[in-house]
């Protein structure tokens, strides 16, 4: 190596050798935490370039019905993949997990996730799994097994450098530009209300209800069957909900102007004409807003507006004021035109009705919320959000910019991060940037105890 007979060729070779050595050294330092060399931490698998630590991470929004994926810094996810039967007939369900953990086998979740994430990486993102960090948006109600399963798939099959879970309501709030918000996520299994005050999610006040996409799907399926005598398939029902349903912002049942318009749908080849408002509007009201007959809904079965009100009532009095004017609606069902307005209207009716009236519970509430509403309905407002994925993308890309090239120094200077992160692992490499609460592959795959506990934010372990 040292013989430099052809001077230019020799030196360049020398330089290359040094560069290779340096690369080796720099890559070995961040992964020294892994105890013994193994299948997972073999040097060939470990990321070898500095770039991998500094590239914008992949952001995954994994929901029960679909996966949104993209790279931090983009305004929209690159792809949105629904979960459903695939061409090879391997995936048989339409949901990644069931709310009842007993009906979900983790093996199935692993298989399906692995298949879909493969598509995500190689068909849409066009990236190696091992080249990027991953940020996953989690619902506050996500189960631990599921979080572990997702991390396992990413680490084991895709060799991701690290996995970070980020609360999806926080993402939704960031994408709205707010620092305080009440995020209402109308998802598939559950509708979750999460208050966030000054960037801090108040998880103790988080409420959820089963009145969500799945219930709506079942109800619409029954309704369509009643009107057409055909059994609509899962996809047909979903298309109907997404493309035809609407919610009138004000209560129309009193004015009795229900139009007897007919609506044409095609179910398994046959065209049917169904009454418009009965099928397209009523199920929404019945499912999301109608209280139980005797006004005693189960604790996990509140109508959405009652859920919002009960969540607000559970908050401290200093946080309520800003929450009232910062309600964010996200989730699949919130795209139904008019639904968010209608829910908002119902919340207003509860807390600050137009005219005196309502039952005793409402009166109590009205009195209780008087200091913040001052009887003014327009104080209860909703704000627009670009969605949880975009919020995460904003946050991660800013955080990355900030850590990689601190604005004070010139661009390209890599700043050392001073503080220790939440997971308590100190920084070893200045050439990397860490996201808060990052979980690294080697630790996760080698240390079973670590893997079991790291995602549980309710218990404080030595790892956190």
């Amino acid at each position: 190596m040292a013989n430099s007979d052809g001077d230019t060729g020799g030196t360049s070779e020398l330089l290359r050798g040094i560069a290779a050595l340096r690369r080796q050294l720099s890559s070995s330092s961040p992964i020294t935490t892994g105890a013994s060399p193994s299948f997972a931490s073999s040097p060939l698998l470990s990321p070898t370039t500095r770039q991998q630590y500094t590239d914008p991470p992949v952001i995954l929004d994994i929901g029960a019905r679909g996966i949104r994926a993209g790279i931090a810094g983009m305004e929209r996810p690159v792809c949105e993949i629904p979960i459903g039967p695939d061409l090879r007939g391997r995936i048989k369900t339409n949901v990644l997990w069931d709310l009842d953990a007993r009906n979900t086998s983790i093996e199935d979740v692993l298989d399906i996730l692995q298949t879909i994430l493969r598509d995500v990486y190689y068909k849409y993102l066009l990236l190696d799994g091992k080249s990027r960090k991953v940020v996953i948006l989690e619902n506050p109600m996500m189960t631990l097994q599921l979080k572990k399963a997702i991390a396992f798939v990413l680490f084991n099959y895709f060799q991701s450098i690290s996995v970070t879970y980020m609360l999806s309501p926080v993402g939704s709030m960031l994408a709205a530009g707010a620092r305080t918000a009440l995020v209402v996520d109308i998802g598939w299994h559950e509708t979750t209300v999460t208050p966030i005050f000054d960037y801090k999610p108040i998880l103790s006040a988080t409420r959820s209800t089963l009145r969500a996409g799945k219930r709506l799907h079942d109800l619409v399926s029954r309704t369509l069957k009643a009107f057409t005598d055909a059994i609509p398939s899962f996809d047909e029902v979903e298309e109907f909900i997404a493309r035809a349903m609407y919610c009138s912002p004000v209560d129309l049942s009193t004015s009795a102007t229900t139009s007897q318009q007919a609506f044409a749908i095609t179910l398994s080849g046959n065209t049917y004409y169904i009454p418009s408002s009965e099928t397209r509007h009523k199920p929404l009201i019945q499912l999301f807003l109608q209280r139980a007959e005797d006004n005693v809904d189960d604790i996990d079965d509140f109508p959405i507006h009652d859920l919002i009100v009960s969540c607000l009532s559970g908050l401290g009095i200093d946080t309520r004021a800003s929450m009232l004017s910062r309600i964010i609606f996200v989730g699949g069902c919130s795209n139904i035109p008019g639904l968010t307005l209608r829910i908002l209207e119902e919340v207003r009716n509860c807390l600050a009705p137009d005219s005196a009236g309502g039952d005793s519970t409402d009166l109590y509430l009205q009195k209780n919320f008087r200091p913040w509403t001052i009887g003014d309905r327009s104080r209860i407002k909703a704000i627009t959000s670009l969605g949880a994925w975009t919020g995460a993308s904003l946050y991660i890309s800013r955080e990355r910019d900030h850590l990689l090239n601190g604005t004070g120094a010139g661009a390209g200077t890599i700043r050392r991060i001073r503080a220790e992160t939440a997971s308590g692992i100190s920084h070893t490499a200045s050439s990397s940037f860490r996201i808060l609460g990052e979980v690294e592959r080697d630790l996760f795959l080698l240390d079973k105890n670590y893997a079991d506990n790291i995602f549980d934010w309710t218990i404080s372990t030595k790892y956190r």
């Binding site: 073999s42 493309r243 418009s276 407002k381 900030h402």
Partner: protein, 600 residues
């Protein structure tokens, strides 16, 4: 639901087995249990792998790879993939290739400062928003005036979607960089309906991005003033650092006041504490703080209730689903989510990847695409890359260890032995219970060495109890050597092959004759590198149950391995025993034969 076409062969990959059993131990256990010596006797206690009925563990032969180092099959889950090249499937333009090209290791795609454009063809390839086929560009007719030369429109050759017929007529000003033009259009599409205040997601995102940048900058400035132990994330810092300051200040305050005496000193009054708090930024400057708070949320925008109501009234007037795009059409647009069918814009074409694949256990490269043609074109067209000179994707592979070149291919043929021959094959018609069906299972040997095959299956299928009988569980297949094969190779192999051939030819005549006499002897027919054996199925009386036969195939052969890896390779071409070592190799795998359904 896609109907299964029978017969179907799927090969089981043991990588999906429970993690506690490594794939290696699994294979070892199986090979010993189904070793050729014991044959049928062991099939009684043949243990099926637990994931044999998991569709994710079953693969078509063509989608499997074979690691010739570990001697195991590798499926898509037990390979590590690396993107080597991205290209447009429509124009075959290569967008990125390996830049480092070091040694025999496929290097990574480096995409610095990659934007989302990196996943789309940024040339002129656009897709139909309705049916996702490629759109064709047409020039507008000359009747439209002198500008006609420069204007083009798009048309779909499959569903005849036309860019001129949609809500707002789409005619492009030039025929190049259509992608950029469409991108620009999609950014405008929301502003279109005259409400100027309505922001597109793109502008909102840019605004928010800038807003957070400023937030970070202000944090930076604040941090520069007081270089304390600031928390790592500025988003959470402002209040936190302020309260930290307060605590520190109070501490020092109290320590000054309190000192040694335990009695509260008169100096600590509520007002003094409040003053301290105020100084630390808690109470004072209410106005400026409120202003700052407002400034911090200046990007918040309230829901446009009027627009929402308009949307609802529009939806209410709808009479069929046709007015809104389908969900897949909505999801397909990467820029905006279209709400009405007339909103649909041509879609950019997503790039595809060529990937290298490695065995997950030993890191051996199983597949490596050849990207050499690209390299030539980059060096030549480095200057004129903007013009988009021809650098199309290559289709060749440098390494491609497909499983069909390493393990026997199986083919199933129905033998109508029953005297009233059925009019249609039972695959379609279905199987009648309690009738013996005979099949010929033909195994083709792709290897250059003769192999000794052992088949094993449980006597009854695990799910429904259809009984299975293999008449010949153990047999030999000749080598795959063409007649016009390289002469040298033949001479090197002939010696080894000769005695075997003699024995096998005698076998052929004997067995084929006897096979015609009665099906009991098992081997139906035999060729140069293939053997057909008979097996029988008696379907159990289980209505419309699928007949799935688990089949364990193990084969052994003597491979010639280079003795010394370091000594200059094949300089001595004699290929004699001096250079090569004989090594007994044994490969085994589970497969599932899906034969058909029992008549309902």
């Amino acid at each position: 639901m896609i109907a299964t076409r029978y017969p179907l062969l799927r090969i089981h990959c043991p990588c999906a087995e429970p993690i506690t059993d490594g794939p290696d131990t699994e294979v070892d256990a199986l090979t010993t249990s189904g070793s050729p010596d014991t044959g049928l006797d062991t099939t009684t206690n043949l243990e099926l792998p637990p994931t044999l009925d998991n569709p994710f563990a079953l693969h078509a032969l063509n989608s499997l790879y074979f690691c010739d180092f570990c001697l195991v099959l590798r499926c898509e889950r037990c390979v590590v993939e690396e993107v080597v090249q991205t290209y447009c499937p429509a124009c075959l333009h290569v967008y990125s290739a390996d830049t480092t090209a070091g040694g025999n290791e496929p290097s990574r795609v480096t995409r610095k400062g990659r934007s989302d454009d990196a996943t789309f063809c940024t040339r002129n390839c656009l897709q139909c928003p309705l049916c996702f086929t490629s759109l064709t560009t047409f020039a507008t007719t000359s009747s439209e005036g002198s500008e006609a030369l420069a204007t083009v429109y798009l048309q779909c050759s499959h569903c005849s979607w036309d860019s001129r017929h949609k809500g707002r007529s789409l005619i492009f000003s030039k025929h190049t960089s259509l992608y950029q033009q469409v991108r620009k259009l999609s950014a405008q599409s929301v502003i279109d309906d005259e409400s100027e205040t309505h922001d597109t997601p793109a502008t909102t995102f840019a605004e928010l991005s800038q807003f957070y940048q400023q937030l970070y900058d202000s944090f930076e400035a604040e941090e520069a003033e007081s270089d304390t132990s600031a928390p790592p994330s500025p988003l959470f810092s402002k209040r936190a650092s302020r309260s930290l300051e307060t605590i520190r200040f109070l501490k020092s305050h109290y320590s000054k006041q309190g000192g040694s005496s335990s009695a509260p000193s008169p100096a600590i009054t509520p007002s003094s504490v409040l003053g301290v708090l105020g100084r630390a930024g808690g109470v004072s400057n209410q106005k400026t703080r409120e202003h700052a708070e407002k400034e911090k949320e200046r990007c918040v925008s309230y829901i446009d209730e009027k627009a929402e109501i308009e949307e609802v009234t529009r939806m209410r007037g709808m009479t069929s689903l046709d007015e809104t795009p389908t969900l897949s059409q909505q999801r397909a647009n990467p820029f905006v989510r279209p709400t009405t069918s007339s909103d649909l814009l041509p879609l950019p074409t997503r790039l595809r990847t060529r990937r290298a694949k490695r065995c997950r256990a030993c890191r051996h490269i199983l597949v490596r695409p050849d990207v050499s043609s690209r390299k030539v074109s980059t060096s030549s067209s480095a200057s004129g890359s903007a013009a988009g000179s021809a650098s199309t994707v290559a289709t060749a592979f440098r390494i491609n260890l497909l499983s069909k070149n390493y393990i026997p291919t199986l083919r199933l043929t129905y033998l109508p032995v029953t005297s009233p021959a059925p009019s249609s094959s039972p695959y379609q018609a279905g199987f009648i219970p309690h009738i013996t069906y005979s099949f010929a299972l033909t195994l083709f040997n792709p290897l250059y060495e003769p192999i000794k095959v052992t088949l094993a299956s449980p006597p009854r299928t695990p799910k429904h109890g259809h009984s299975i009988t293999f008449l010949t569980p153990s047999f030999e297949i000749g080598a795959n050597i063409e007649d016009d094969w390289d002469l040298q190779a033949i001479t090197s192999l002939r010696r080894k092959f000769a005695d075997l051939k003699i024995s096998s030819t005698s076998n052929i005549s004997a067995s084929s004759e006897s096979a015609r006499g009665g099906p009991n002897l098992g081997i139906l027919d035999r060729g140069r590198n293939w053997t057909s054996v008979i097996f029988e199925i008696v379907p159990a009386n289980e209505r419309s149950s699928e007949i799935e036969v688990p089949l364990f195939v193990s084969f052994a052969y003597e491979a010639e391995v280079e003795k010394d890896f370091g000594s200059g390779g094949r300089s001595g071409e004699s290929g004699d025993s001096g250079l090569f070592d004989k090594q007994q190799r044994e490969v085994a795998f589970w497969s599932v034969l899906k034969i058909g359904r029992v008549i309902a």
